[in-house]
Every structure is written in C-alpha cells, then in structure tokens.
C-alpha cells in the first residue's frame, strides 16, 4: 500500500476556502449528466470506435499454462485476404520489454517463454475483425509444454516447477510487528485461530479491455478503456522511448474497470506496434474469454488469523499469516492492513508471502487484498466475541480507535466507524433480528455484521480548469477518468454549487492527456476526494474573478456581491446575468485554475464501513440467499445521493458474488482455466442479491480531510460485504465457512461433515 505522498502546490487565489455548510446541488440525488447518452446508445465507448482506415487486431495466445515457444510460422496467415501485418518477437520494433523490475524486464511483448495460459505469442492486423481472427488462428505455433504450478501453496515447495528462474517466492515475506504477540496471547482469556482460503475473483467489467492506436510520425495516440490516461501515457512513453508530450492517451465513455484497467496491457502495445507497421489506426479488443485469462484478477488468498481477547472484550493480540499468488508476474497479492489498523490492539504481527504461479498476473481489484483479509479477520473477531459471550457489534465497539496505528498513531481527521456500527445496527434491527425465532424447517436464517476501513487516502496531485464563457456557459476541464461511477456528474455538481449555473450549462472535457491537466488514475477510491477539491478551487477562482468584474461594472464593493441562479446579485437586489458582464464579453472568457491542496499534515483521512446481512440457508440444497442488507458507510460528505447509492449497491453485490458464487477454477491436470465463460464464471444475477439493500451514509462532517469533505467510497462499500455474509451463514447453521465461495456444494459438504461428526 502506497502512503499518501505530499505535494505542495499553491492554490490560485490563495487560502483554503471555507468548508461547505448547506449545499444545494452537491449531495442532491441527481441522475448522471450523461445518462441519456449511455442508455440511448449515442455514447461512443472505446470499444465502439471506428476511425477512417482503421484495422482490427487479434492476438495469438499460448494455450498452455507453461510452455516454451519453439517455432512460429506466420506464412499462411500473412497470405490470407485482408491481412495487413503479422507481428512476432522477430518483427522489427516488436521486441519490447514488459513487466519491468529493478533487475530488468521479466518478459517481452512476445516472449518465447510463456508463463501462463493466454500469454501473447503473435498478433495480426486485418481489414476486418473476422479476417484478423481467422488469420490469428492460422498462425502455427509449436510449443514445448513445461511442468506448471497453479496452486499457491504448492508453489512454495522447492520441488515445484519454477515460474521464473529466481524461484517462486517473490522477495522476502513482508513482516509487520508491534508490541509482543506472545505476551498478548498470554494475558488473553480466549484465543481463536482459524485458516481460510478465498478463491480468485475476476473483475468482469461490462466493457472489455480495448485499445485503438494511431501514429502521426513519431507521435502516438491511443484511445483506451483505461482508468487513468496519465499513467497509461507514462507507460507507453517508456515502452516506446518517447517523450511524454509525444504520447496522447484518450479515454471516452467507459464501461467499468474495478482496478483491472489501471495498467498497460500487452494488447495495447500490440495495437501500437501493428499501427506503426501498417501506418493505419488499429483496434485491439479482447474477447470476454481473453479478459478472464490476461486482464487481471483478485488472486486467491490463504490466510490464518489468531486473535486473543480478555473477558471484557479487549483485544490483546492479533497474529496473521497471509499467502497469495501474484500470478506469473509481480503484483501485490495480499493485504494485512485491516489486521494492523481496524481495531485497537497493542500486539500485532503479520507476515505476508507472495508467490508466482502459472496463471495470469493479478491486478488491483476493488480494495486489493482487503475483502479476503476481512473475510478472515471479521470471522475470527465474530468467533472471539461469541466465545466470550459478547454481542458481535458491542465487541467491535469496544475495540475502536481514533488513531491510525499503522501511521505512527496519527489521528484520523474523522472516524465514523462507531456511528456506522450503531446506526447500521439500528437501521437493520440488529437486536430484534438476533432475538427473533429464525428457523423454519430446513430453511435457517441468520444475521451477521462486519466492519472495514480502506487504507488509501489518495494521491493529492490534481489540477482542474474551469472556464466561464461570455454567454454564461461553463467548461470544466479535468484529467480524471469517469469509469462509469459518475465522476463527471459529481464534478459538474461542484462547479454548479459554486457558480450557481444549471448542470446543463456545464460542458466537461476529461481524460485526455492532450487537452486536460494531470489527474491521478481513477482507482483507490480517490477520484472524488482528489479531483473535487481542485475543481472547487477552480470554480472559486472563476467566482472571484466574476465578482471582481461585476464589482467594477456595478461600482459596488465586492463584499456586497454574491452569485445566485447564474447571476451576480448585489445586497440591494441589483441583478446582472453573466452574459451582461461587459468585461467578460470583451475577454470572451474567464479561466479559473486550481491545484489540489496537500493532505492535512499529521492526520489521516480514511473512510470506514459497517455492514449487516441477513441470510437464509436452505439446508436441503445448500443455497444461501442474502435477504436483507444494510451498508452503513462513512465516506464523508455525500456528493450525489444517487451515484453514492449506486456505488454502495455495486460494492455490496460484487461482495455477494465474492462470498457466494464467484471463483476462477484452474484445472489441476493442465493448469488451464476451465470456467472462462460468462455462464461458468458465476457473477450474481439480480435474483441473487437482496431486493432492497439499504445504503446508509454516515457523514461525520469532516472539515479537515479536504476542501469538499468527501472521503472514498467505491472500495469501502465492498470490503466487509463477504465477511458479513459469512458471519450470517454461521449464525444460521452454526458452521464456519472458511473458504469462498459459499456455494451449495461447499455448504452441503460442511453440513454433511458436521452430521458425520455428530
């Protein structure tokens, strides 16, 4: 986990603006400003793009989990109709390094050593997609299949096949320690230890991964379904040894990412190389099946947690071991953050081991490492509370903290975790639900709770420009990507709040490295809290200039003027629309610019969550239904109640998939993924999630965290979900589900095991 850096930049106009009191546009339940375009089909996603003369690419992929390429024969493919280029590692300009490390690249764009199923071997560009796919299939590749390892625990065995010559263990285990766990357990009245395994989950964004590349001399333009155009630009500039200014990355409408579109993929490089070879724009879109193999995953985790507490509920020690597979190339695979910082505990030790396996590389996935860790920690906390006879909610309340123990005890700017637990319990009817008779025949009902914190406060560097035109319309310029969460809408609301213009008068330019200014990638739940302050600063800059212009024209002191309904209003009631401002007409525009301010010094701003689930378990079929759900979220200020609720529902539903049905299955005999299809990889349908989940915002009115008071939401809405479901299942059937998914097969096996043991 990266800690927030500090970036000092002067805000234009000087001084922090006063915190918002009552807001009128910000916080309102407003539909997305581009909703009509999205549902009517006029929104052009990268996948929809058609440029004049554009070719279509297809990639030849290794069908083995681990293999060496002996020979690639492109003769037949090259001669096929419509084929414009076939590129392999031998093609000039295609031998590009990939997966850079301090010791050099671990792979090439087309590497003769294929370390996972689906790894890239060659690529084709043709006039039509059909021709490209046919030609890619006509490329003959001779492989030597190699022994493979796809299981993280087996990868630790020194005798296991090696994914890289250096061995399968990546670096040294990451150890964190404070206090002394042995003495902590020695004073505990109860100790619980359990081991868990969470299955690998796939991102499955609606829009597949896709790039369109075009060269103009030595300048490269790439349209990409990406979460961050600036990071993509930097990666492309490095790959092609180009100046940053010579690479343009453009995002358009986007159909989701969940973290899987935060980094450069080989398909994008292939598109750029094909475009250069053919002097034509080239689109390379992955198929859904390809995304399952090569576009990232939340890796499986094996986690053992041991926790001790005193009779009064005070936690005395937490000890955890985590193991996760990065896949075939380096990536984070686990996070012990929750164990170190969710609850007050003086004695903590965590040890995390990261290994290579012969499977697609992991990518960040909605709070990387946190949901698996919550699945483990929050079940152990639940069991410990029960062991000591405490209500699980009260037990958690007993162990809250107002400081970040992982950040030298720095206080939080705000923590609404207590309020999330209490208000969530009230909304859910926790006490009544626990007291109620919950079992009817073979249907068992249970309730569960889990809490969470998200550990990243955002990269504070962002710049925004707001331009007011002579007719009173506004252009908002931000580099941030709207990956489908409603970023554009929220940013427009910030502008509308300060300039009092209707949302319809605000035009947005975003996610284009040539026309917008740098913003961090839309990941880490940082988009609003990083960009909205800069947007607010820029809007306030415009506001100041407008008031100065009006003051001069009206010959009144600026203190007597304010903005109202898109006009300047004086204390005495004199009203003047923006279009009536002569100086604005002369200059044609007023430009406001702001950089985001640095994070508050000595304090930590992070979001919190507590979630409550009620489940029904059918003991005949093993099916678990989540029938009620309450998500209490301290994400600071609600910027738009509509998009806020959407984020919460999405996070919860994805968490229910993680808990109950989603699982990448790798065949033990071949190492190949057997369920790389929409049917066999089971994301929940609308019939598999609660009909009426409750999104409960908890706003601690944080005026220190940043200029808008919002903290992150996308990830904290997802972190505790699966754990809450697991605790509810235990409450229902008295059995701990240690591994995900809690599928009918697993539940029936657990029930049968229990019956056998009596």
């Amino acid at each position: 986990m990266r800690h927030p850096g500090v970036f000092f930049a002067p805000d234009a106009g000087g001084g922090a603006p006063p915190p918002w009191g009552e807001t009128t546009v910000v916080g309102a339940r407003r539909p997305r400003i581009d909703a009509y375009e999205r549902v009517s089909g006029t929104a052009v996603y990268t996948l929809d793009m058609q440029l004049p003369g554009m070719l279509h690419g297809a990639v030849v992929r290794c069908p083995h989990a681990h293999a060496r390429v002996l020979r690639v024969d492109t003769a037949r493919a090259s001669a096929m109709p419509g084929v414009r280029a076939v590129i392999t590692s031998d093609t000039p300009g295609a031998d590009l390094p990939f997966y850079q490390t301090e010791k050099g690249p671990l792979s090439r764009l087309f590497d003769s050593h294929c370390r996972h199923e689906g790894e890239e071997v060659a690529a084709v560009a043709a006039d039509t997609l059909q021709q490209a796919v046919d030609a890619a299939r006509a490329v003959t590749v001779e492989y030597e299949a190699l022994p493979f390892v796809v299981d993280e625990e087996r990868a630790l065995d020194p005798a296991a096949p090696k994914v890289h010559d250096s061995g399968n263990v990546i670096g040294e285990p990451r150890v964190y320690s404070r206090g002394d766990v042995a003495s902590g357990f020695a004073v505990a009245d109860a100790v619980v230890e359990m081991s868990f395994r969470t299955a690998a989950q796939l991102h499955t964004p609606m829009e597949v991964h896709v790039s369109v590349a075009q060269w103009d001399g030595n300048r490269l333009t790439v349209w990409d379904s990406t979460q961050g155009v600036y990071d993509l630009r930097a990666s492309l500039a490095e790959a092609f040894s180009l100046p940053l200014a010579s690479v343009r990355a453009i995002g358009t409408y986007m159909g989701g990412g969940f973290g899987s579109k935060l980094e450069l993929g080989k398909y994008t490089l292939a598109a750029a190389v094909l475009a250069r070879r053919t002097a034509r724009p080239v689109k390379v879109a992955l198929t859904r099946e390809e995304t399952f193999l090569v576009a990232g995953n939340r890796p499986s985790n094996v986690i053992t947690v041991k926790a001790g507490a005193k009779k009064d509920g005070t936690l005395t020690a937490l000890d955890a071991r985590l193991l996760g597979p990065a896949g075939a190339y380096p990536s984070g695979s686990t996070s012990a953050y929750l164990i170190g910082d969710l609850y007050r505990c003086a004695n903590v030790r965590t040890e995390a081991t990261n290994v290579f396996i012969n499977a697609g590389k992991a990518r960040p996935f909605r709070a990387p490492g946190f949901p698996p860790c919550a699945w483990a920690l929050e079940q152990v906390i639940d069991a410990l509370a029960r062991r000591l006879g405490h209500d699980p909610v009260e037990f958690r309340l007993k162990n809250l903290t107002a400081v970040s123990q992982l950040r030298d005890g720095q206080p939080y700017t705000s923590t609404g975790l207590e309020a999330c637990l209490r208000e969530g319990a009230r909304e859910f009817g926790w006490q009544q639900a626990r007291a109620a008779e919950r079992h009817t025949g073979h249907i068992r009902r249970g309730v569960g709770v889990a809490a969470g914190i998200w550990g990243y406060g955002g990269d504070p560097r962002a710049t925004a420009i707001v331009t007011l035109y002579a007719d009173g319309s506004v252009n908002l310029n931000t580099g941030a990507s709207d990956i489908g969460t409603g970023t554009k809408t929220v940013m427009a609301q910030v502008v509308a709040e300060e300039l009092t213009v209707p949302l319809e008068r605000i035009q947005i330019e975003h996610a284009d490295t040539a026309t917008t200014k740098p913003a961090p990638s839309s990941g880490g739940s940082q988009t609003v809290l990083v960009n909205a302050p800069a947007v607010r600063g820029a809007a306030l800059d415009v506001r100041r200039q407008v008031l100065d212009i009006a003051a001069a024209q009206l010959k009144r002191p600026v203190e007597e003027l304010s903005l109202h309904d898109g006009a300047v209003v004086a204390k005495d009631g004199t009203r003047m629309t923006f279009a009536e401002l002569k100086e604005l007409g002369r200059k044609r525009l007023v430009v406001g610019l702001s950089h985001r301010h640095p994070h508050p010094e000595g304090k930590v701003a992070l979001p919190f969550a507590a979630q409550y689930a009620e489940v029904e378990v059918d003991t005949r079929t093993g099916r678990v239904s989540v029938v009620r759900f309450v998500a209490a979220q301290d994400s600071g200020r609600v910027m738009n109640r509509f998009t806020f609720d959407n984020q919460v529902y999405g996070g919860v539903f994805q968490g229910i998939g993680f808990a109950l049905s989603e699982e990448r299955v790798l065949d033990r005999q071949t190492g190949k993924m057997v369920n790389a299809t929409w049917h066999d990889y089971k994301i929940p349908t609308m019939l598999d999630v609660p009909v009426d989940p409750v999104s409960l915002p908890i706003d601690p009115h944080d005026i220190e965290c940043n200029w808008v008071g919002a903290k992150g939401l996308g990830e904290p809405a997802h972190i505790p979900t699966a754990a809450a479901v697991a605790n509810a299942i235990h409450d229902a059937i008295g059995v701990r589900v240690l591994d995900t998914p809690a599928s009918p097969a697993r539940i029936l096996r657990l029930l049968a095991d229990r019956q056998r043991k009596g």
């Binding site: 073979h442 005949r620 065949d667 049917h679 349908t685 609308m686 599928s743 049968a752």
Partner: protein, 323 residues
C-alpha cells in the same frame, strides 16, 4: 467470432431432411446452443440448416385423444406459458420456466433444449476430451464438482436439459423425421448413455430432425412438479433437478414417475423410487425413502459427493410438495 459456414433455409421438411443428410450439416432452430458451440469451436459446421421456415414444427395444440402436441420449434417460453401445459402437465411448465433466462427462453426451442450439447467445461473448453474424439475424460481426475454421480462411464457429463426429465415423467413420445420417413420413440429412449456411445447424446441419425413431442392425456389425479437446485437463481444449469409426476387417488399414489436432471449423462429415471411410491401415501417417511432410493448406486467423483445429499433433499422436497 463464428467460423465460416454455408447457410440454407429449406421451406419443406423433406428438403430440410435432405440438406441435413449431408456431412457437416447442422440443424439451427433457436440457435442459442448451436451458435455458442460454433463460436467456441466445440463443433464445426459446413452447412447450417435453418429450420425457421418449417411452420409445421411450430405451435402447441391439444390432440384428439386429450393429450398435447408440442412442435419442436415451440419456444421454451411458449411451453412454460401454455395453459394446457400449466394446467395438466405442471412439472413440464415448471421445468420450462426454470430454463436459463427470459431471453434464452424466448429464443430457445423445446427441440433445441432436448438436443443441446453437454455443458461439461472440458467438453466446451479447449480440451481434447473423449466426447470430442480424445482418449481421456478430464473430469475423472479433474475439476468434477458439476459432473455425474450416476451413469458415468468413460465420460461423466451430466444431461443439461430441464425439460427432458419432465417430458419423460409424462411418458412423452418423440416424433422424428428422417430420410427413411418418420418414426416415433418414447422420449426416454431418445438419449444415448456413454455406455452405448460416448460421442453422441441422442439417437438422431444424419438427416434426422426431431419434429414434435406428444404428451398422452393426463391420468386421473395427476400432479407433478419440477425442482431445480442451482447456484444462481437465474441463468444457470441444474446442479441437480427432479421431475416428479404422480397419479393420486384416495390419497394413495397409483403410479409415479421420478426423473432426475443434472446428475447423470442422460435424464435419469429412478424406478426404485417409483416402486416405493406406488401404492403408498406421501408422507415424510416415503419421501425420505424415495430420496434415498434416488441416489442408490451413486458413485461420486472427487468433488461431487454433495450431489448425493442434494438429490435426496430435492426429491424429498418435491414429493412433500405433492402430498
């Protein structure tokens, strides 16, 4: 991306039979399975023969003897909604309603639902398995949580159809048109177990087309249901399913049909359970005994033992619902 193929749309059944007699020809009804199989290269087609112009294969009607005729091109949604079926053959209506998703039920046909290829992920995936001409069934030693616990031999697919067990529970007759004319067989004998031939799932010979299904008139006191256990509540094949059709008079079962889905390579009729039910009153004990009988002889693989409990549970549940 679909591979290339020729497409033809004959206007008569005789023409369709002739076209389908050619090597590499494949029948196209709703296409919900065929197109996926072609796209995923599970099977190849030189010619796709569309049946869409054969209007005589459409429709659902009552027959002179009081039964029902279902054209093979009737959609699964039509079967689920047909009053004659919901009223007199409820297990079939339940089963049709439990198929896939609304879109797939609107597009998919009853004939296609019976002739669809197995969902085994090795068969569907990039694995040269026995059913595709290879020499190994990957499920035996592999990821077999969804595979057969009954009737597996050489190949351990499960039959994917929900409607097949329900139709068999009603003693449906399948009518088949072919180069030699028309023939009719009990649907129960339409499916080919791997012990007979592990490369095919039906008795259809080249050129043959399933044209209609005939349901005999409902027996007196006939009641039925279809129970389907699955991971998702929609768009999912059965982990296990059971179609039960009982004729009950004076609270006693006169005759019974119990047919399983999702646990064997063919729709799996359970005569042992039917014998227990015949002449009995449905109570907790007979339901439990029938459930136990349903899994007699089950031989689970490494990861599908849970299906034994599952079948017992849903058979019990289905029967108690009919008590």
């Amino acid at each position: 991306m679909l591979p290339g193929f020729a497409h033809t749309r004959p206007s008569t059944l005789a023409e369709a039979v002739e076209r389908l007699s050619a090597p590499g020809a494949r029948a196209h009804a709703g296409g919900t399975d065929l197109l996926g199989c072609l796209r995923d290269r599970v099977l190849a087609a030189d010619t796709v023969v569309s049946l869409s112009a054969l209007t005589e294969l459409r429709g659902i009607s009552t027959t002179a003897d009081g039964g029902v005729r279902i054209g093979a091109l009737a959609t699964v949604a039509e079967v689920a909604a047909e009053p004659a079926i919901t009223r007199h053959y409820p297990a079939l209506a339940d089963a049709a309603q439990a198929v896939a998703s609304p879109q797939l039920r609107n597009q998919g046909t009853i004939g296609g639902n019976l002739c669809q290829r197995p969902r085994c992920w090795y068969f569907r995936g990039d694995f040269h398995c026995a059913r595709k001409g290879g020499d190994v069934c990957y499920a035996v030693e592999g990821e077999n949580q969804y595979h057969a616990i009954l009737g597996g031999e050489v190949c351990f697919i499960v039959h994917p159809s929900d409607t097949a067990p329900a139709l068999i529970a009603y003693d449906a007759i399948a009518r088949i048109a072919g180069p030699g004319g028309s023939r009719a067989v009990p649907l129960e004998t339409f499916f080919v177990p791997p012990s007979t031939d592990f490369t095919r799932e039906t008795i259809l010979e080249p050129g043959e087309i399933l044209t209609e299904l005939l349901l005999p008139p409902p027996a007196e006191g006939q009641r039925g249901t279809y129970r389907k256990a699955r991971i998702r509540a929609a768009w999912d094949f059965a982990l296990a399913g059971v179609a039960a059709n009982l004729a009950v008079r004076d609270r006693r079962v006169r005759s019974a049909r119990v047919v399983l889905s999702g646990v064997a390579p063919v729709p799996w009729r359970v005569p042992e359970a039917e014998r227990i039910l015949a002449g009995a009153r449905i109570d907790a004990r007979t339901a439990r005994d029938a459930g136990l009988a349903a899994v007699k002889g089950a031989a689970p693989l490494g990861n599908n033992g849970y299906k034994v409990d599952l079948v017992r549970g849903i058979v019990e549940e289905a029967l108690l619902a009919l008590a």
